[in-house]
Symmetry: C2
Subunit: 286 residues, 2 copies
């Protein structure tokens, strides 16, 4: 039996599952503090024994296996978690092989192996929710980089009449600052869920998502681009994003995935389970 942890900023999901990516049992805890959450996670895996655990953690987090900080949450605004050695604590408690990656990289792995990217060499996964992040998997493996990418902070060209405040404390015009769920709420003074499907908000949102995804597409040349996260639950959004991408490419189609954007850009096939299933795959690779 394999274990999986999806350590998110609002929820801790954990699961046990088999070698084929099937979740057999899971539990969920509100993310509060290491003092509360680490015993919850430890107890789950004491009661449900596994041979290895793959973790997808919120960032910034060190994923450098050669670093002393590997598996440590870095300089996060969540004060209780700042510089907390997440991986080391779990390993000390459970004494089994455990590895840690960024949450979006793990979700990308789940989709690459059991979801929307099973036939693809390079899979790019971007999540648009409370925050914006991206992950990449090539040949069903993580890239061996010392740091995870930070795709949520690429520049976005504002639509001229958009003067809404950015939701990023560092950048006035970045992807996360202008297109995350909270950014939509700041722009229109209501939760995104309250905006009707024909509201102009979705034109702006699709334009910005397309800009951010476009930069990462050029950087990684993926065969499949999977866009998930809470904001993408609006069904009118994906077709608008594709149209914006086509407009931005403007005929520049130097490799097949760019020429077939309708097939290249998809929603997650695993839905909200991408992270947990990715963690099981990760555990199987340890």
């Amino acid at each position: 039996m394999l274990g999986s942890i999806e350590a998110g900023g609002t929820k801790m999901n954990c699961a046990i599952g088999d070698e084929n990516g099937n979740i057999i049992k899971q539990a969920q805890f509100q993310t509060t503090s290491p003092a509360e959450n680490m015993p919850q996670l430890t107890n789950f895996f004491i009661e449900n024994r596994v041979t290895a655990i793959g973790i997808g953690a919120f960032g910034p987090v060190s994923i450098d296996r050669e670093s002393e900080l590997y598996g440590t949450i870095l300089d996060t605004p969540k004060l209780a978690w700042r510089f907390f050695p997440f991986l080391k604590t779990l390993k000390d408690n459970l004494n089994i092989p455990i590895e840690l990656q960024s949450d979006v990289n793990v979700a990308a792995l789940g989709e690459a192996v059991y979801g929307a990217g099973t036939e693809d060499k390079t899979v790019l996964y971007i999540t648009i929710g409370t925050g914006i992040g991206g992950g990449v998997v090539v040949n069903k493996q993580f890239l061996p980089t010392a740091q995870h990418p930070e795709m949520g902070h690429v520049w976005i060209k504002r639509i001229p009449k958009d003067t809404a405040p950015s939701n990023c404390p560092f950048h006035t015009d970045c992807f996360e600052g202008l297109a995350s769920g909270p950014a939509i709420e700041k722009r229109w003074n209501t939760n995104a869920k309250n905006l009707p499907a024909n509201h102009i908000a979705w034109e702006t949102e699709a334009n910005y998502i397309a800009q951010g995804v476009y930069q990462m597409m050029l950087a990684h040349a993926p065969d499949r681009i999977i866009i998930g996260g809470g904001v993408m639950k609006q069904p009118q959004l994906l077709p608008k994003i594709k149209q914006n991408m086509k407009d931005q490419l403007n005929g520049y189609t130097y490799y097949p995935a760019l020429a077939n954007l309708d097939e290249t850009i998809v929603l997650p096939a695993l839905g909200e389970n991408a992270g947990l299933i990715g963690g099981l795959v990760f555990a199987s690779q340890i």
Copy 2:
């Protein structure tokens, strides 16, 4: 003895060298057509026998070893080279192991092994010249993607008073369109070499280069960023780029390379030999 070919849009460089990246003999030809250039390259390697050749080729080119198009120049504006099977032709002529990658990926490999990135895990190499392109090497290896990145076409936010025409046929506001050598010439109506070091042209150029590099930095989280190409021969440019990057990051330093941009961003240590030396390293890895 190992062989190296740097197949550029204006010049074909070829060389033989040893296992330590030392170039022993080299030749250069004007890039004209396959009918003229392929015999030149073939004859060089008949006269100078090697056990393997690594090629860095101008793009777009297929680098997918599983594709029938591997090693074929794709839909390039250089009509004589369009869909020319570069790799296959050389292999048929020489009957030795030969592999092909994008020119900037090969230059990145040279710098990663013998140049400015010897101590680094992830090396990003960006060239600013007639065109703009980028390559990535992780752990002294190419990323196993089916396509090379196309970093020259990421979006740039224009400085408001800059109304110069883009040099890209596809995009009004992309990196290559606004910051390549020909783009500088279009903007100021003179060759970039004629612009004095204190000309405002270099402020604009540094801003745009910083924007382009910033996107790729977030996408790949490199430990070292090497910026080469003809435009970078202007010594006033690098410090201005670093300052622009710092302004853009605005304190967002989630991993060490971002906190030490003065050390992270450098010129190529191998100068114009990065591609040829990278080809020798590539040949040694075959």
